[in-house]
C-alpha cells in the first residue's frame, strides 16, 4: 500500500449556515492522478479551499502527508481557477510564475536571478517560455492557464491541487497539460484535479473522487467510475441529459 498523500476525514463546510459539503471522507495514496468530478455546486472548489484552510471548516480533519496543512504547505502546489483573478493586473507572465517562489525568496527580500531563472524554466516546461514578458491580459486563455500551472510547478511541490485547469482551454493546451500531469506522476508527484469533462476522466486519471456535497465514491477509476456511481453523483440531471440525447436521436431518425 502506497503512503497517503492526502486524507480528508469527516469534513463539513458551511456558508451562511448552509452546508456546502457534508462529512466528506477520502484518502489519496501518493503518486496518483486524481480526478474530482461532480455537478456544478457540488462543492468541488470548496473542498480544495477547505483542504488548504482558506475557508473555515465546520468540522473535520485534513492531513497532508500525515500532518496538518500548515505544516505541509511547502509540499503543496495550488492552481486556482483561472477566473478567480483579475488578468488586467499590471504584471507579466514571469512575474506571476515567480509568485510561486515568494516563500522561498523570503519576507521583504527582493527576487534574485536564480528565482527568475527557475521561473523561466517552469514557463519552458509548460511551453510558453517565449511569452515570459507578455502582460498577462495579452495571453490567451490557454496560455493564462499554463502560466498558473507554471506558478505551481516552480514550487516543486509533492501534492498539487488544481481547480479546473482544463476548463475552456484549447486542444493543444489540454494535451500539453495532460502530458505534464503524466510526467509529474512519473516523478512521483500526486495531483488532485477538479475536472468537468466526464468523457476524458478514464483516459486522464487513475483515481477518481465523485463528489456531490458528499463523497459518492472514491477509489481507482476502473472500480468507481461506473454508470451507477455517476447516476448517484449527477442524480436526475444526468438522466435528463440522457433523455434529451435520446429524444434528439429519435427526432433525427424520424427525419
Amino acid at each position: 500500500m502506497d503512503p497517503i498523500a492526502l486524507s480528508v476525514d469527516d469534513l463539513t463546510v458551511a456558508y451562511h449556515r448552509k452546508p456546502v459539503i457534508w462529512d466528506v471522507e477520502f484518502e489519496i495514496p501518493q503518486g496518483k492522478l486524481v480526478g474530482v468530478v461532480g455537478p456544478n455546486g457540488a462543492g468541488k472548489s470548496t473542498l480544495l479551499k477547505a483542504i488548504m484552510d482558506l475557508i473555515p471548516k465546520a468540522s473535520g480533519r485534513v492531513e497532508v502527508f500525515g500532518k496538518p496543512y500548515h505544516q505541509s504547505l511547502h509540499r503543496v502546489g495550488y492552481v486556482p481557477q483561472r477566473e478567480s483573478v483579475d488578468w488586467d493586473f499590471p504584471v507579466d507572465a514571469l512575474d506571476v510564475v515567480t509568485m510561486g517562489l515568494y516563500r522561498r525568496v523570503g519576507w521583504c527580500l527582493p527576487i534574485r536571478k536564480k528565482h527568475r531563472d527557475a521561473a523561466r524554466e517552469a514557463l519552458a516546461r509548460v511551453g510558453i517560455a517565449d511569452l515570459a514578458h507578455r502582460q498577462i491580459s495579452q495571453l490567451s486563455g490557454g496560455q493564462q492557464q499554463r502560466t498558473f500551472l507554471a506558478r505551481a510547478l516552480v514550487q516543486d511541490a509533492d501534492l498539487y491541487l488544481m481547480d479546473e485547469p482544463l476548463a475552456a482551454v484549447d486542444a493543444a493546451t489540454e494535451a500539453a497539460i495532460v502530458e505534464l500531469l503524466k510526467q509529474m506522476q512519473a516523478d512521483g508527484k500526486t495531483a488532485v484535479v477538479i475536472h468537468h469533462d466526464l468523457q476524458s476522466v478514464p483516459e486522464y486519471f487513475d483515481h477518481v473522487v465523485l463528489l456531490n456535497m458528499r463523497v459518492v465514491a472514491s477509489g481507482r477509476t476502473e472500480d468507481v467510475f461506473t454508470n451507477e456511481n455517476l447516476q448517484k453523483t449527477y442524480g436526475g440531471r444526468l438522466t435528463l441529459l440522457d433523455e434529451a440525447t435520446e429524444a434528439m436521436r429519435r427526432r433525427e431518425r424520424g427525419i
Binding site: 482558506l54 499590471p90 519576507w107
Partner: protein, 441 residues
C-alpha cells in the same frame, strides 16, 4: 505681492519650504499606496475613512480644550481622526456582515452620517470657542497655510514610514492584491497583510487630512495611481509613476496655495493631480485614448491593406493569364466605398505593392507585392482552416492581425494546419480558398 511670490517660489521662507516638502512627500506616499489599494479594489476605503474622521477631529478638539490642553495640536486632532475614522470602517463592515445591504450602500450611509455628525460637532465647537477654533474647518478642504513646520515634519515622517513599509512588503502586497487565495494557500497571513495594507492607507489618509482636506484626500490616493496605469503594464513602474505624479501634484498644489492663501491647498492639489490624469488619459503610452485611437487606425489600415492584396492575389489566381485587373471589378469584390478603395490603391501604389497603368484604372501586383500577397493569403487561409477545424475553441485565440499565425497559435497546431493544407493541396500549389464559392459569388 511680487516679493511674496518670489519668497514662495524660491522657497526662502523656512516654514513654507518645510510645508511644501512635507506635502510633497505625502503625495509621494499617497501615489504609492494608492496603486496597491486601487489594485486591491479598496480605493473607496480611504474616502469613507476620511469622511468618518471629521467627528473625531471636532471631538478631540472639544475634549482637549475641556481638559485645558491645546486643542489645535495636530497629533491630538489626528488621533481623534484616526479613532473615529476606524469606527467608520468598522461600522461599514458591521452593516455589511449583519444585514443584506451591499458594500457600496453601506459606504454611502456611513460616509454621509459621520460627515454630518462631524459638521454638527464643528458647529458646536465654533459656537463655543469663537476664534479659538478657527482653522479646524481647514480639515474639510485642506489648508497648507495653517500648517506649522512641526505639522509638516509629522506628515513627512509618517508618509516616509508608509513608503518604507510598502517597499519592504512589495512582493507580499503584490501577491495579496493579485491572488489572495494563492497567497493563503502558500501560508501567508492574508488577514494580517491586509490589515497592514489598510493601516498604511489609514495613516496616509489621516496625515493627508490637513493638507488636502477630508473631502478631497481620496483623490490623492486614486488619481495618481489611475493615471499611472495609462503609462505602463508593470506594477513597479506604475508605482514609481504614481508616486512622482502624486508628489508633483502635491508640490504644485501646496506651492500655489502658499502663494495665494485664499485658495484651499486641497483643491489646488487635486486640480494639479487631475491635470496629470487628463494628460495620462490622453497620451499615456500604454492605454491612453490617443494611443488607442492611433492603434485602431493602424489596424484598420493594415486590414485594408491585407484585403486589397488578397483580393488582387485571388483575382490573378483565378485567371493566371491576365496581366492586370480593372478598378470596377475590384470595387465589386468587397463592400468598400469608391473613396476608400481609391485611397487604399494610392497608398499601396506609393508603397510599391502594386503598379497602375496610365489611365489609373488597371492594377497589377509588383513582384514584391505578389510575394506579400501570397504570404497574406496563405495566412488567411490557415486561419480559416483553423476556425473550421477548431470551431469550439477558436474564437478566443483568433488574432488575425498577428503578423504570423505562429505567434498566436501553438507550433503543434500550425504544423497540423500546414500538413492539412499540404496533404489536401500538394506542396507547391497555393492552398485553395476554403470558402471560395462564398466570396466569389
Amino acid at each position: 505681492m511680487s516679493e511674496h511670490l518670489w519668497r514662495v517660489l524660491s522657497l526662502q521662507d523656512h516654514n513654507t519650504r518645510v510645508v511644501i516638502f512635507g506635502t510633497a512627500i505625502l503625495g509621494f506616499a499617497a501615489g504609492l499606496v494608492g496603486c496597491l489599494t486601487l489594485l486591491r479594489r479598496r480605493a473607496l476605503v480611504g474616502d469613507a475613512l476620511a469622511h468618518a474622521a471629521l467627528p473625531g477631529i471636532a471631538g478631540a478638539f472639544l475634549i482637549a480644550t475641556a481638559m485645558g490642553g491645546e486643542g489645535k495640536s495636530l497629533p491630538i486632532l489626528l488621533a481623534g481622526a484616526t479613532v473615529s475614522g476606524l469606527f467608520g470602517i468598522v461600522s461599514i463592515l458591521l452593516i455589511r456582515k449583519m444585514t443584506r445591504i451591499k458594500e457600496d450602500a453601506a459606504l454611502g450611509i456611513i460616509l454621509s452620517v459621520y460627515f454630518g455628525l462631524g459638521v454638527a460637532l464643528l458647529g458646536i465647537v465654533t459656537q463655543m470657542n469663537r476664534g479659538n477654533a478657527a482653522g479646524l474647518e481647514s480639515f474639510i478642504y485642506g489648508k497648507t497655510a495653517t500648517m506649522t513646520a512641526g505639522d509638516a515634519r509629522l506628515i513627512a515622517v509618517a508618509s516616509a514610514i508608509c513608503v518604507l513599509i510598502c517597499i519592504a512588503l512589495l512582493k507580499e502586497f503584490k501577491l495579496l492584491c493579485f491572488d489572495e487565495a494563492f497567497a493563503g494557500a502558500r501560508g501567508y497571513p492574508v488577514v494580517l497583510l491586509d490589515a497592514v495594507l489598510m493601516s498604511v492607507v489609514v495613516v496616509v489618509t489621516i496625515v493627508g487630512l490637513q493638507a488636502v482636506g477630508l473631502v478631497l484626500v481620496i483623490a490623492l490616493l486614486v488619481i495618481p495611481a489611475a493615471s499611472a496605469r495609462f503609462w505602463t503594464d508593470r506594477l513597479v513602474v506604475m508605482m514609481v509613476i504614481a508616486s512622482v505624479l502624486g508628489m508633483t501634484g502635491s508640490f504644485v498644489g501646496a506651492a500655489v496655495s502658499a502663494m495665494l492663501p485664499r485658495l484651499p491647498s486641497g483643491a489646488m492639489i487635486v486640480l494639479a493631480a487631475g491635470f496629470g490624469f487628463l494628460v495620462s488619459f490622453l497620451i499615456g503610452t500604454r492605454r491612453g485614448v490617443l494611443v488607442r485611437l492611433w492603434r485602431r487606425r493602424k489596424l484598420n489600415e493594415s486590414i485594408d491593406h491585407q484585403h486589397l492584396l488578397r483580393e488582387l492575389y485571388e483575382m490573378f489566381e483565378l485567371d493566371p493569364s491576365r496581366v492586370s485587373v480593372p478598378y470596377e471589378e475590384l470595387l465589386e469584390r468587397r463592400s468598400w466605398s469608391r473613396k476608400r478603395l481609391r485611397r487604399m490603391l494610392e497608398q499601396a501604389s506609393r508603397e510599391g505593392w502594386i503598379t497602375e497603368n496610365v489611365s489609373k484604372m488597371e492594377f497589377a501586383l509588383t513582384d514584391r507585392g505578389e510575394t506579400e500577397a501570397k504570404r497574406l493569403t496563405r495566412r488567411h487561409r490557415l486561419w480559416e482552416l483553423y476556425l473550421i477545424r477548431y470551431a469550439d475553441i477558436a474564437p478566443q485565440r483568433v488574432d488575425r492581425d498577428a503578423d504570423a499565425i505562429e505567434h498566436v497559435l501553438e507550433p503543434e497546431i500550425v504544423a497540423e494546419l500546414e500538413t492539412l493544407l499540404d496533404n489536401e493541396l500538394g506542396k507547391t500549389r497555393m492552398p485553395d480558398d476554403p470558402h471560395a464559392d462564398g466570396v466569389a459569388s
